[in-house]
Symmetry: D2
Subunit: 381 residues, 4 copies
């Protein structure tokens, strides 16, 4: 039984013994959702119920601060197991931009910059947080959010052949998002090729996994152990994948852990006093495969959504395999859809059409998608 | 009925209709607490029960991100009302060091530094987070954590009389903690005198209120409206005062709000995607005087604790009026106390004595203090 | 009579009463230059003779430090006069990268970035000095080093239409080089169009004039007064235009001068104790049109060089109107030329050809170019 | 009699064949100095004559940029020889604050701070340049500008015993000035003791030698080789010791040279295009002991000055053994002295007395001091 039926009000409850809370949630959804279907983004709700329950259960325990609590330690252990990477270091950080800015600053030497697709989040939508730490983003041409090994190799070849290295920012890292900002995915082979280039040129490889649950669920061959094997560091997104807040920053290699790590996290203002808040949540996300299940649920919902788009003749701007779908709608369709559905506007397609974004998440129910399908039918050709 | 009685084990439950959760908490306390009394710090538990309940209740609501949700807006309104400062701007930030580094960077010009007591948290225990943003801390002599207006005036007079201003860091702000790191408090008159010096010299006044609930509860004359009136900015601590995480950063004057505030919070990596996490909590803390009650509860517990110290002839290193108490114990007393009580070691007093810290909080129960009193009696002279 | 004939050993001397020094120079040139003709760059010699003489003449004067000396004041006055911009503020800085990093940091708000051609020096060859101050370079497509108003407008339109400004770096400035890194020039109309876009969007306009003397000498319609009128700030290059070291940073508008300017220059480590070193030199450069003459001399030498290239059928990669010329030579031509001439390698043209750079400067003599012409004839088709 | 005879002590002039220039200098001194004796500071004139002559002699040589020229290489060699430290790395930087900010940033890890006397230049008069690079200055109590090994040891012991290192700035370096801001000197034993503490605690030792020539000349036992042996890095001041501009930054140990050193100097905006400007000057300063002679000359002048103070009953605030003397004068004496002498005001002594500073330098003549002595006699008791 999936989460969806639970959300729909199944009497048995999705977390044993937590019936009342489910009821509250149910009522709230009725109250807030009857008129508007919500597909605007994947961070509109709080925590996945089991995650919330764990916060409730542990609330009055006396625990040490700053990530020294047993929940944070156990969560790190569980993540190491899930990654099949027993020597990894795992630290929990509150948010994604903070994690990126921190990780890049710690993994780059002060004179190094980071190669990234020009559409990368760090290059476009983090308000210059990377540059605030003194590092340059070296943007490269991308396709639908992805950069390929050949492009990186080409940049490095040009860089090497330039005689004025002492006047140039030295590339120290490749940054990728998985899934990308366009909902697209790298294949295992694509990542392996990039990792090979990185190793040949002594670059670190870092992956921003803000929506990692959805990427892993959608990919045929990319797994947590593969990421741990290929990357020097990456983060497992919690905020958009079932947690109230939190990202798990992973350093995969013992010799790749920045010195005085906790001290530097503190210096960056990123050390959470009640580290339990993050540790408890990630402990649950990595128990009994919940992180994977939340991702797969969202993907099933996205599949249903995709089928409804196809069935109703509504084209998609991008063939996104993940939880974000990008239909192209006419101006009148957009207006009609907006009557009952919350969505994001992605950009203008042409004078008469707009690309919108419909996002599913761990919190999307089958009923939500069924209702959305009816709306799509209503506005379809 | 206040929280205190709830904590003492009243069968009726402390949040109406939430019996099960209380039960869990109760059991956990029994499980974790029977052997060790916990007075180590004031951030060892999760959220005050009503705060946690609000997170539960709002969990599945679809809400906009980045602090645009109705809870964050309402919480800001409630804080403005509590401060009698209708034009204030309130932003919720995850942690204290992050709040200080952010606020100081935004309120200082790039060439300005911040005057602070030499014992100030930003000068001693924030790992250089202020300097990481490029600003110098200008430490001044202090007494038990406090700086006075005359010391500031003296520094400014010397600064003004120096002919080489262009070669010096310009003082732009006075930073204080309330309560201080020593648990001491400024009186309203002391704060007024400092504020007057600040205005005369065009310095901003900023107060770090990490433990503000306990300071307000202990003070005879310092109130939230007074702080709002005297300061240019300050923060209302949540993490140590009943929240899972979060601090409310307040800019009191419309003309003192940094331009492009949200953009800069994002640039600092301090913009929380699920701003609701903080908004919901502060909304509850500032409903029906909960923040005040939590503070007063901790103070009552500290009063009981102080009485127990006096009764058992255990001297106090500092006359702290707030939730942190600093007994001086002999080496053998320390060892005995450690058998059943968790506390912090503050520092060496002499070869045979140590200053320890016993902290109460919103989570401390009367039973806890009663049990501690017995321990103190056991180790007393 | 130009500088060239002076350098070649004319008996009359170009600076009255300085015969001996000229002789030394002559001898040194014979000694060092007989075998190799020098066209590698435009900063290979010390100072223009008159500039050096002024350093000699003022050497033992007791002068105040940090730019407060009468030479620096007079030099600023002369530059203001030359720019027809009586209210400008002029500060002398040692080097170009330092000037750019300083000026951009002072003119940008901490949350702002700088729009620049992707080939801009600050984006490619300043080792990330701009990012070290926390600001992002926003690179835009360019042609032969130039960006146009339409490209800037297009970027700004896209930026404005994006709904997530709070997550984006705010454009605060347009940075250009004049001449560009490719030796090309903007016309007055092109600069006016860019300035108009800047004003419409409240962006500052800044021009990097590392080789300004050569740009002004080559341009039909761009003058110092025009630059002062259009820009918010720019710098007049000294290091590559006749000085031992030094750039004159100009803030054209009284209300556009960063607050506490000298203090911030000091904070950046860019305040020279013996400011006289720069003031004396710029005073001479802006006396009797020397800066203009030095530029025109180099341009005449470049014209001669260009004619020699044409006469010998050696194609040019770029139609550069300034002191840098970019011939395309075959591999064998390159090897032959390298026997007697020092030049820079610019890049590969095709498998058999290379783009090289030949630079003239204030220090290039007619004899140098005549000798180079013979070399070109020798290697020509 | 001009400077030349003073320096070389022989009738023939100190730089062969430079008669004319000396004459110019002499005339200028007559013109500018007849009315006012100049003892205000030690950076009021240009370059020592031999230094200037070398700039003249090399002016038209074609030399590579960025410190790759043969003069810079030779100067580094000469300094290595003078230090008896053949493996040292030497880089020439334009100014003192820039050198300090650069060196400390490169030698400190991002999470480290620098221990310094509270009166240290970096803590008081560099406008926060160190903090701008993200590092905290950890000021310690000092006496007349000096810190001692015991004070450092005490700070480190307290630091080590503190349990919250992860929340604290880690000490990474000790910074000293030699001579200090008060003109005082460390003995060899004092420096050895400090160096021992540094090695025991894995701290780097850095010495700011802005006025090193005067310190070496005054010290009984501190030599360049000793500094090279004890320090990890230090700088040999040029600006205040005979150069137009420039400081020689020395990294004494091959394994202590920051990686990608030139790249980082460039990133800091401190890489001079015409590195020859600095290389030529330091080459002369370290030829035939000129740097030492310039220092000794200034010290002889200071001795004469000190004797004149004693002879005329004018007390000194500090027993400074170097080129800065700090007489205490009454208000009326100060006014009288100011009629014919330029000096600095150091600070108020009491209601009726002021501490002033009289500085000698390489440029001070015996006639200057003789004339000053007459003035002191005139105002003396």
């Amino acid at each position: 039984m999936g989460l969806a039926t639970t959300f729909a009000g199944s009497g048995s409850g999705f977390v044993s013994g937590c019936g009342r809370m489910t009821l509250i949630i149910y009522i709230l959804r009725i109250g807030g959702g009857i008129n508007m279907l919500y597909f605007e983004n994947d961070y509109a709700e709080g925590a996945a119920p089991a995650v919330l329950q764990a916060l409730i259960d542990s609330n009055m325990e006396h625990l040490p601060g700053y990530g020294e609590d047993r929940y944070s330690q156990a969560a790190a252990d569980k993540i190491r197991t899930a990654m099949a990477c027993p020597d990894a270091t795992v630290k929990f950080i509150t948010g994604g931009t903070q994690t990126n800015a921190l990780a890049l600053d710690l993994l780059l030497q002060p004179y190094e910059g980071v190669i990234a697709p020009d559409t990368a989040h760090i290059n476009t939508h983090e308000a210059g947080a990377i540059e605030l730490t003194g590092h340059k983003v070296l943007p490269q041409p991308s396709k639908l959010g992805k950069i390929d090994a050949a492009t990186i190799e080409q940049f490095l070849t040009a860089w090497i052949s330039d005689g004025s290295h002492e006047h140039m920012v030295q590339p120290g890292m490749v940054y990728l998002t998985f899934p990308t900002e366009y909902g697209t995915l790298y294949t295992a082979d694509e990542l392996r090729a990039i990792a090979t280039v990185c190793r040949q040129h002594d670059l670190r490889l870092y992956i921003d996994g803000a929506r990692l649950a959805y990427g892993l669920a959608a990919s045929n061959d990319v797994t947590l152990p593969l990421l741990a094997q290929l990357c020097d560091a990456f983060y497992i997104g919690g905020t958009k994948c079932g947690a109230l807040a939190g990202e798990a920053l992973v350093f995969t290699r013992p010799d790749g852990v920045p010195a005085h790590l906790v001290n530097r996290i503190k210096q960056h203002g990123a050390l959470v006093a009640k580290g339990r808040l993050l540790g408890v949540q990630f402990g649950v996300l990595f128990t009994d495969g919940l992180y994977e299940q939340l991702g797969k649920h969202a993907l099933r919902m996205a599949d249903n959504l995709r089928r409804a788009l196809v069935a109703n003749g509504i084209p998609r701007f991008i063939e996104s395999p993940t939880n974000q779908q990008f239909p192209v709608v006419s101006t009148s369709q957009q207006a009609q859809l907006a009557q009952n559905v919350r969505f994001s506007v992605w950009g203008k397609y042409d004078d008469d059409h707009t690309v919108i974004r419909l996002a599913t998440s761990w919190a999307t129910t089958e009923d939500d998608v069924t209702a959305l399908a009816k709306e799509l039918q209503r506005i379809g050709a």
